[in-house]
């Protein structure tokens, strides 16, 4: 089998990018979100009327803006990694900043959404639907903030951490993005 090793090297899926430790964390994080979604689904089926009323009060446009912001951020992070590999530090920094800016759009829209809901009287203890809505989205918001922190850390420490570290950070960011892509339809649309 003379070609196996070169094929394996070319196929990006044969090796996890970044540190294995991060992938363990990602697995754990995804498990938490999976359990939260599961609990949400069970409660949805038990209180269908209430949950549908709650969903009707959510602003789908805000959800859509957030989705676009996070997808853009992920694109920018991927580009930043590519520029880092090609040794173009200026573009690397630029794209990483763009990613943070996109993430900031998410944060601002999310907080505005929270503010709107709380003013309308649907806080964390408003009703069962909103308890889950705030817990799950709030937990995700914390992850976005942590992800932004990691990206900024990477920006400042780029000389120390190298491509391996950058890939580790990028993997975390993509996980945060991925979770939202599942969260958005489950909470807002279905």
């Amino acid at each position: 089998m003379p070609n196996t090793s070169s094929v394996a090297a070319e196929n990006p899926m044969t090796k996890l990018p970044g540190d294995l430790a991060m992938w363990v964390i990602i697995l754990a994080e995804l498990s938490v979100f999976a359990i939260l979604f599961l609990v949400f689904a069970v409660q949805f089926s038990l209180n269908e009327e209430l949950f549908k009323q709650g969903q009707a009060l959510l602003d789908t446009r805000a959800g859509l803006i957030i989705t676009l912001a996070l997808l853009s951020a992920s694109y920018f992070v991927a580009q930043a990694v590519a520029f880092f590999e090609r040794n173009q530090p200026k573009y690397f920094a630029l794209f990483l900043l763009a990613a943070c800016a996109s993430a900031l759009v998410y944060v601002v829209v999310k907080l505005a959404e929270y503010n709107h809901l709380v003013e309308a009287g649907f806080g964390l203890s408003g009703n069962k639907f909103f308890t889950y809505y705030f817990l799950i989205t709030g937990f995700h918001l914390l992850h976005v903030l942590l992800g932004m922190g990691i990206l900024i850390f990477v920006l400042f420490k780029r000389r120390h951490i190298g491509l391996h570290g950058l890939n580790t950070a990028a993997s975390y960011w993509h996980m945060v993005d991925l979770v939202w892509l599942v969260l958005f339809p489950i909470l807002y649309l279905l």
Partner: protein, 458 residues
């Protein structure tokens, strides 16, 4: 032993074992009082015996952690301890304060103790596990500050490793969380809310960091596996412990009057609390399998592997059993909690301290690496006696807890508490027998220190 000053750990360990014996004696008395309510009454009433049993556990584990830290930090930092004299002084302060407190529990009624120790000035007494008088609590804070100062100075002047950093973080967290024992609001919900910040964030938070660091230290020493590998495991374990454990506090907030969302938060996060413990099991076994050398101290390795398994079973599996709010609704505060508490404390914290003692004591007593083969065999007997009897204590209490939950809280005609207690008497008798075997195991453990013979080599 690399540094002379590490030997200050010795009195701490001896005191720890002494108090451990006290804890088990009171445990045996307590177990009998479950079935013979007036045993030793009025000299040692049930509530006092229970208080002594749980408080001694906490105090001797603290002695064990302190001794372990005094041994570990200088070795990891590659420097002598900042002040061995301070360490010895604090040892006596802590021991005398602890002994006086226990004497106080046993000699005067609790209310009188509260009065003569000036509890009125700053009321902190009367809450489960934090029963000690306010002045004892102040004493603990002083000892903790001196202890952290001493170790902190040692840590700062020497080499900083992941293990020593994690241990320091855990010890600082332990001291900080203890401060919440001084906060005693009138509102019972708030009281319980912050009470758990001491109780839960100790055993399911910062103590896990201490445990991880101690286990990693012994594994590095006995297996010769690369430090980098062990440190990466340690990072992951503590990350998981904190991710799951901090919000996992919510599993205590189900029924105390906090908002409903704690049902979800507590269930979800604490459902994942077994993960770091399972990682510890994998960690211990993987490192031993990958070992680069066979260390002559085989019994220390046995304790390390035992910790991995028993902590996962006791804290992880037995905790998960009743952590989901719909299940906890019927099992809350039953003997299932006692079953979990026994195996979790033994598997995680008792065993890790005994593991440290097992590894360090021979070195502090002048051996090159380990005790004699005979001494190790005797200690291994004590390992199995205590561990197997603890498994049985846990199983009997679990059976009692399941029957209790069913009879008292489920079905069409639930029975009153005391009626149910009579019906589950048989399990209490069996638990008492297992408890006596545990006591025998502990005696064998102490005997192992006095068994002589030629030092074991590989």
């Amino acid at each position: 032993m690399k540094f002379e000053s590490q030997s200050v750990a010795k009195p701490y360990f001896i005191a720890a074992i002494g108090l451990f014996v006290g804890q088990i004696l009171f445990g045996v008395i307590l177990g009998l009082q479950y079935v013979m309510g007036d045993f030793l009454f009025p000299e040692i009433p049930f509530n006092v015996a229970r208080m002594v049993h749980t408080n001694l556990l906490i105090v001797w584990l603290l002695f064990g952690f302190m001794g372990s830290a005094y041994y570990l930090i200088p070795e990891e930092s590659e420097t002598e301890l900042h002040s061995p004299k301070l360490a010895l002084l604090l040892f006596w302060v802590f021991l005398v304060a602890g002994a006086l407190t226990i004497v106080g529990y046993l000699s005067v009624p609790y209310a009188t103790l509260a009065k003569i120790t000036g509890n009125d000035l700053l009321p902190t007494m009367g809450r489960e596990f934090l029963e000690m008088p306010t002045i004892t609590k102040v004493g603990v804070v002083i000892v903790a500050l001196g202890f952290l100062y001493n170790l902190g100075m040692t840590f700062l002047k020497g080499r900083k490793t992941v293990i020593s950093s994690v241990l320091m973080l855990g010890l600082i967290g332990l001291a900080v969380m203890f401060l919440f024992s001084f906060y005693n609001p009138e509102n019972l919900v708030r009281d319980k809310f912050y009470w758990w910040w001491v109780v839960h964030l100790w055993v399911e938070g910062v103590w896990e960091l201490i445990m991880g660091a101690l286990l990693a230290f012994v594994l590095i020493k006995t297996t010769g596996v690369d430090r980098e590998v062990i440190e990466k495991w340690l990072y992951l374990i503590i990350a998981m412990a904190l991710i799951t454990g901090i919000i996992g506090t919510g599993h205590h907030y189900f029924w105390i009057g906090t908002p409903e969302y704690w049902l979800v938060l507590g269930s979800v996060f604490s459902a994942l609390e077994p993960v770091p413990f399972f990682m510890m099991t994998l960690f211990a076994f993987n490192m031993v399998n990958k070992r680069r050398r066979d260390h002559p101290n085989k019994v220390a390795v046995l304790w390390a592997m035992g910790t991995g398994v028993m902590a996962f079973l006791g804290a992880g599996v037995w905790g998960f059993m009743h952590t989901l709010s719909p299940i906890n609704y019927v099992t809350h505060g039953t003997q299932l909690t006692a079953a979990h508490g026994h195996m979790a404390f033994y598997g995680a914290y008792v065993m890790v301290v005994l593991c440290m003692i097992s590894y360090t004591m021979p070195l502090m007593r002048g051996r090159a690496a380990a005790n004699s083969n005979l001494s190790q065999v005797v200690e291994m007997w004590s390992f199995w006696l205590m561990t197997v009897s603890m498994v049985f204590i846990t199983l009997f209490l679990t059976a009692a807890g399941i029957v209790q939950s069913y009879l008292q809280r489920m079905g069409d005609s639930p029975l009153p508490f005391m009626v149910v207690q009579e019906k589950i008497e048989i399990f209490y008798w069996m638990r008492e027998v297992a408890g006596l075997v545990f006591l025998i195991g502990l005696v064998v453990y102490i005997v192992s220190f006095f068994v002589k013979g030629e030092e074991a080599t590989v």
